[in-house]
Each structure stands twice: as C-alpha cells, then as structure tokens.
C-alpha cells in the first residue's frame, strides 16, 4: 500500500505504471483505477481554478486506514492512492486510486470503496474560483448513488 498527498501535479497513468513495476510479477490478474479530475463547472457555474485545503497528517492517516480496510475486506494484492492539494486547474488530475487484485470483482469493489470512503472522510476542502474571480468553498460532495451506504460511514456531524 502506498499513499501520497502532494502539491505537485502528477500523471496518474505514469504513477500506476511505475508502482506496478514494484509488484511481484504474474500474481495480479488486473488493476482497477479511478482518476478524479477537475471540472470546469460546478453547481451550474463555470470554474476557472480550484484550491484544495487539507489537514496534513490526518489526510494521510485516514486514507491509509481506508486502504488497509479495503485490503482486509477484499482479496486485494496492493493499492496506491495519490491525492493533490493546493492550486489546480480544469482537467488536471486531483486523485488516483489504483487497486491490484487476482480477480476483477475484488479490484472493482475495493477501488469504489476507497474513493467513496475517501470522499466522506479524508479532510480535504475545495475552494473554487469563478471567472469573475469570486472564491467559494464547495459545501458538500455529491454522493455515489450506487455506494453501498453501509460500507461508507460518514463521520458524525455536530448535530447528531
């Protein structure tokens, strides 16, 4: 398992290729990847730039926890997560989740679990810049409508 939180832009496909070279040859039957990229629109408005704030230390800790949980729940060989923070622009990759497994079902399920859990719990916050230069915090993420809700427990809010 490898988790990287970095400000620098990255090429997710190069990250997958490089990490796969460190894995034992011939043991995995597939890799499922999710690459999250920045849109140039959100909530009906154009977006020209975004800044991602995070809680250093807590982000890595929680992403590592979710990868460890995925590796326990499914027959997964290895996983890699790269997530950016700081300033970024439309079409740039924000996050990579890659999961290697002997069989595809486990890799698909584990990859989906990791990205959904990350979006619920990893302490990152998006702040968008509109074409007029207005900066606004994104107040909530959209949920994966197919997420198994019982699999991804949102942290308790102050009002519950």
């Amino acid at each position: 398992m490898k988790v990287v939180v970095q400000a620098e832009a990255f090429d997710p496909y190069e990250e997958v290729r490089r990490y796969e070279q460190t894995l034992e040859k011939g043991k995995h039957g597939g890799v499922v990847t999710f690459v999250g990229t920045m849109r140039d629109f959100n909530d009906g408005q154009d977006v020209v730039a975004m800044s991602l704030d995070h809680y250093p230390g807590m982000t890595e800790k929680h992403i590592e926890q979710v990868c460890a949980e995925a590796e326990q729940r499914w027959d997964v060989m290895d996983s890699l997560v790269v997530h950016r923070y700081g300033d970024m622009y439309p079409s740039e990759p924000i996050v990579l989740v890659a999961v290697w497994s002997a069989h595809r079902a486990e890799a698909f399920d584990a990859c989906r679990f990791i990205i959904n859990y990350l979006k619920e719990r990893a302490p990152f916050w998006k702040r968008e810049t509109t074409p007029a230069g207005e900066k606004r915090w994104v107040e909530h993420n959209t949920r994966d409508p197919k997420a198994e809700v019982n699999d991804v427990v949102a942290p308790a809010r102050a009002d519950n």
């Binding site: 704030d53 809680y55 997530h83 990152f124 916050w125 308790a156 102050a158």
Partner: protein, 77 residues
C-alpha cells in the same frame, strides 16, 4: 490543561484564525472548548470534529496536550 485548537477551510474564515492554544480545566469536553473559542457562537450543525486526527463528537472528554480540530464537511476526491 492546554488544548491546541485548529480551524480549517470555511471554519478558519469564520473564526478568523488558524489555531490557538487554550487553557481549560481538567475534564473539559469538546463543547467546553468550543464555548471558549467561539465567543458564544453556536456550532454550525454540519461541523466535523477531530481529536488527535480521529473523528469524534462534541461530548468527547479531552486531555492535556490534545489537538482538537473543527471543520466543515469534507470535499476531497
């Protein structure tokens, strides 16, 4: 006992600062510290709370040296 309090994202804007250290009496909870740092403002309903980088709630008891963070719902990924 001393508690390091941190604010992130829109909570940092709302509170006008990144962090501070507050001295509270033994047995203080997260809610007690919020009352100290917030100048009487109610905690926004969607606030998330972490102590030493683990999620918890406002009733959690604190101990000397804890790092307590308040922040809005997370929007990574």
């Amino acid at each position: 006992m001393n508690i390091k309090v941190r604010f992130f994202a829109s909570m940092r804007d709302r509170m006008g600062r990144d962090e501070e250290v507050v001295a509270v009496s033994d047995g203080a909870t997260v809610a007690d510290v919020w009352a100290r740092v917030s100048n009487g403002q109610a905690m926004p309903a969607s606030t998330l709370i972490a102590v030493n980088m683990e999620y918890t709630d406002a009733s959690a008891a604190l101990k000397d040296g804890d790092e307590l963070a308040f922040f809005p719902p997370v929007t990574g990924g």
